[in-house]
Symmetry: C2
Subunit: 524 residues, 2 copies
């Protein structure tokens, strides 16, 4: 094999020259080096431009066209990470990252992720790794309890029934998905198949074409994609318009009108995706009123609380989920605000049996006595794929390492920093706040007299700010208004970062406004 | 916040008492400890029972019902991993793991995964982290080239066209998915939507109900699930029976008959999932003949080469993919045989534009000039979800650290070990081989005079072997025959492990046969 190096056994050993891709001492050496590399990265993270400033093709042009024939030394590869990868990173962990929603991290979650990777359990069913399944059940109940979800969403919800005298399919429960998209697809398919079963096979597809789903124009774009994916007719996807007047929340009255019209037209209302904390502006759909509206129809109600749901571990925000006891499912992504790295999305359902009915597979090679007796949870039947990682370790480490009180403090601190930014914006007459800052996001813009010009000004400001590399913010359009989004919550962000970012924004605004004035004079 | 500890700032610092979930020095300390924990685990892995021997509920009964209020010390948590998690693990990394297919690992992939986690880039589009997108393009081309896939599956396939003077949508290319299930769903939806577009909107759903998909009874169970998920009528899913006579491969003649019958019945053939290396027995569907059969129909041909595809980096196995230049897409999971940990599934498609057409979303908050100019790849439009991890780092580290030659040696070594096991079985008149051992899997069983009894004997043998904790094997049924599966290829497995596992099997077979003889005497 020629290229003998650290990945090969000692020449004096009986296995001399054998390829050893998991020699534990070489693993140890390399991993300690990578740990230091990462810790140093986190230490010096503010030295990097937050938004990568490379041009398209920078890496394609730099790397060889084919993989090497012989193995290369670890030093060389780590050197290339520094040389080629780092400049092309947009630094999501940076305290100066205020784009999209933060993707939060923590030491505890990193340790959990290392263990998850190391064990490499493929937990498709209970037997394939009992700890992976049971820890997931435990942490899903823990988090449900922190959010004060009703017992109907928890494995331990039926507290009066002795453990294992009943099937887990008949309690509620939670499962970890990779993304909100998967959570929506799984529940949508369960709802679809329940509806189809009710009508029976002869009219099967005819009926599918009648199914209608509801959300608002602020519902995450993945909702529409998920609906199309599972075969909902595109013309049956109702994304009800919202307005600035109602703070971009879905209007129960508008929903009711839409449903009534559809029923009158012979269509069948199937699924409502309500959002707690929309992606554009963190709008809060009024859940309690919405479930009231749909109560007479057999509609599956899902709550997408991907980002803002985490705030409900604080009692003062829990009212945003009022009415949740009457919904069918809820998803929340701890990789957004609960310090847990990508990818981790919690899905709780009241009737897992409906998920299992739509998603179960039963190939011979996975059969075993326990699964057949229904006395264990086989999570492969709660998700799209078959294989799955031991993701719950990450959440378990986060919840234990920090505890409820610190996690509450972390949420409150982020919201407090957003208030500071909001106040800075409000105190400046050149700027305005354009949507309620419910959580850690502040939507704002440079004021302008005329809408087209204001949009151009703010677009220019966005580019200017991001090109400095000192802060990264993003934009959106809601209710026809172009606005800038300042999302506070990156794990490392402190008050001084928020203040410094505001300084950058102010500084660049001056340039943008001055240039604009000059251009206007020239144009006169 | 009370519980001051390592996650809090130094009392003497200006941020005294602040919650610090990512203090870089605390991160460093904890991560070094976890590295040692994992290296020690790998070192002592043979001391663990391969199959976990716990009972259902073992962990649910041991852990508290709610998360702690205050944070807990890292020592305590790591102690609980040892105490509660380890006994509930089925040790997939163990050299004595011969179940399912191996889920292979390596130092290089672990390092790549640590970096991926640390950067925590959410690479939905190019701009969100250019390095994440471009490195994925590079490694997908590298691996395509190692597999000698035709240039039509590669970004660099159109070598004569200068880089960036054309849109990447018009070349072929590859993308990393989590699992084969996702790869199948994405391509199936692309095929479905292409077919629907051809007929046009008025007949939309009527047409969907006519679409027919094909596979064999050996196709992975996720295929049927994926079809149902995207709305293929269950009665339109053809899983054509295979037989032991044709080595459980899909018969081109049977496929042709099925297609002709469907066309005659007014149905529309949509999609064929051919498998290279089926899950039960590693059967190889005859791709070249299959594509010849479907050539006159507008059928999307996908090749699921999840496990065995990796063998095609060795020239002597490449013939298994003969005909691949005429298929539409191919998936292969390096987490099975290319040392890369979960979850990592490569999908190559000839016409990414079809994927993008079905899977793209374009919310305002993700819009940017580069995406709109189509000059970059936005991988969110090649997959189900929006968010995505920097998975390519893992593959890049594997391909560079080991190089093509070592990876070929690794594949050949596993197959060589399987040959050793096969010879051991063949040399024993009490056993028989029941399916061709094409790669690293050997399907065998204890011989028996009568089919029911033979099945019972082998079931008993399976349980006995696995209860020792010294080896883990699984089973399947193909062509009505119950058989044991011995899958060689766990990263740490050496010849002596294979020989020792055979000894355990022999030893337990003696017990099973003796007990059976005794019972028969009693029954006389």
């Amino acid at each position: 094999m020629g290229n003998l190096g650290p990945n090969f056994t000692d020449p004096s050993s009986p296995h001399a020259g054998e390829f050893q891709p998991l020699d534990h001492e070489e693993f140890r050496r390399q991993a300690h080096r990578v740990v230091d590399y990462i810790a140093d990265y986190y230490k010096s993270i503010e030295e990097y431009s937050v938004l990568s400033q490379v041009k398209p093709g920078y890496l394609l042009a730099s790397l060889p066209k084919t993989a090497p024939s012989e193995g290369q030394r670890f030093d060389e590869i780590l050197g290339d990470v520094r040389r080629y990868i780092m400049p092309g990173l947009t630094h999501w962990v940076s305290p100066n990252f205020f784009g999209f929603f933060p993707a939060t991290v923590s030491s505890a979650a990193f340790m959990g992720e290392m263990l998850c990777t190391a064990f490499n359990c493929v937990g498709f069913n209970w037997l394939a790794s009992p700890a992976a399944t049971e820890l997931e059940m435990v942490v899903m109940d823990w988090l449900a309890s922190m959010l004060k979800l009703p017992p109907s969403f928890m494995f331990s919800g039926m507290a009066s029934v002795p453990l294992f005298s009943f099937s887990f399919l008949w309690t509620g429960g939670g499962v970890l998905q990779g993304t909100t998209s998967e959570a929506i697809i799984c529940t949508l398919v369960a709802a679809r198949d329940r509806a189809i079963e009710e009508i029976g096979p002869p009219d099967y597809h005819d009926y599918t074409s009648k199914l209608v789903v509801y959300g608002s124009d602020q519902t995450h774009s993945t909702f529409k994609k998920a609906c199309q994916l599972v075969g909902i007719r595109p013309s049956n996807i109702r994304l009800i318009p919202t307005t600035a007047k109602s703070n971009f929340a879905l209007s129960p009255l508008d929903l009711q009108k839409a449903i009534k019209a559809d029923v009158a037209a012979g269509l069948v209302p199937l699924y409502l995706c309500a959002t707690m904390g929309t992606t554009s502006t963190t709008a809060i759909d009024p859940l309690e009123q919405l479930v009231h509206v749909v109560t007479e129809y057999n509609i599956w109600v899902h709550v997408d609380a991907a980002y803002a749901g985490s705030a409900c571990i604080c009692p003062e925000f829990r009212h945003c989920l009022a009415g949740v006891e009457r919904v069918d499912s809820l998803s929340l992504a701890p990789h957004k605000w609960l310090l847990s790295y990508l990818d981790c999305c919690c899905l709780w359902v009241k009737r897992p049996s409906l998920l299992v009915k739509s998603l179960s597979t039963n190939p011979e090679y996975l059969k075993n006595k326990l699964s057949e007796s229904n006395s264990v949870v086989d999570y492969k039947d709660w998700q799209i794929g078959t294989g799955r990682r031991f993701r719950s370790l990450r959440l378990w480490l986060v919840l234990r390492s920090y505890g409820l009180e610190n996690l509450q403090a972390h949420i409150r601190s982020d919201i407090g920093l957003a208030r500071i930014f909001e106040d800075l914006v409000r105190s400046d007459s050149q700027f305005e706040i354009v949507a309620p800052a419910n959580f850690g996001l502040v939507c704002f813009r440079l004021k302008g007299s005329e809408s087209k010009r204001t949009e151009a000004l703010n677009k220019e400001l966005l580019e200017q700010v991001n090109s400095t590399g000192r802060a990264y913010i993003t934009h959106t359009i809601a209710g026809g208004v172009y606005m800038l989004r300042f999302a506070v919550g990156s794990t490392l962000t402190k008050e001084h970062h928020v203040v410094a970012a505001w300084k950058v924004i102010k500084e660049r605004a001056e340039i943008v406004l001055t240039t604009e004035d000059r251009n206007q004079i020239v144009n006169l």
